[in-house]
Symmetry: C2
Subunit: 114 residues, 2 copies
DNA sequence: AGTCGTACTACGTCTGACGTAGTAAATGTA
DNA sequence: TACATTTACTACGTCAGACGTAGTACGACT
């Protein structure tokens, strides 16, 4: 089982989170589960990584937060939802373009014997 | 022009350097030029990043260094050459495998409209 | 009543990348 | 031959993102 080192993903955690928010507002716990599911458990974002990303991205204007009390719509516990902003969408699209270049660059240095 | 943020590459600088050393021993200045050339200038490794990677990788047993005085073989200045070790080769191959998984993971979160 | 799942917050550490700066020899150019 | 550029580094300090550890607290299930 190949382990993904976190330093590789560094710089793409934000992108993964924003990808989820492109479908509509969401909150920490849900996003962490979605990332895990989408990757078949190959990548599990750490809670601290996730929540500090929210804080950072809100400061950068990529997301906006609002609190939903239990009862209001969703059940369960009080949650902090995040909504992606225009700025966040632009940032997400830039990251997607950047990825293409990054992939091309890295692959010059990769040899996988078949 | 899409700029590659250094955090994306983080974790793959070592791999890029080791890729070059797989062809035979080399030294800082040469490797930095090769990385630049191979990527058509899309990625230029910073000197401090490069030399600190050497130090780290020598400590980890991935490379071994030796000094070549001007005259001995090559011209120019006194150089510190690096040679990849068995351990370094194993590490390089692991990174190449890891890359496949990483790529797959990240691409779940990328949408590039065509 | 106790455990598990949900939904966080706080705090401190580590590491790799990078900015700035400086050294110094070799090489190319006027 | 004077000067700029290229070559080949070293030193030092800073920063940001990831992560370990810990703790809180409510709700649901058994």
């Amino acid at each position: 089982m190949v382990e993904i080192s976190s330093d590789v993903i560094r710089g793409y955690n934000d992108t993964m989170i924003l990808f989820n928010l492109m479908e509509g507002p969401s909150y920490g716990y849900e996003i962490s589960k979605q990332i895990k599911n989408l990757t078949d458990g190959k990548y599990v974002i750490k809670e601290t990584t996730l929540y500090s990303a929210f804080t950072r991205m809100e400061k950068n204007g990529y997301v906006e937060s609002y609190v939903v009390e239990p009862g209001e719509g969703g059940g369960g516990k009080r949650r902090t939802y995040y909504r992606i902003t225009e700025e966040g969408q632009r940032y997400y699209r830039e990251k997607c373009e950047e990825w293409l270049v990054t992939k091309e660059v890295v692959e010059h240095f990769i040899r996988n014997e078949q």
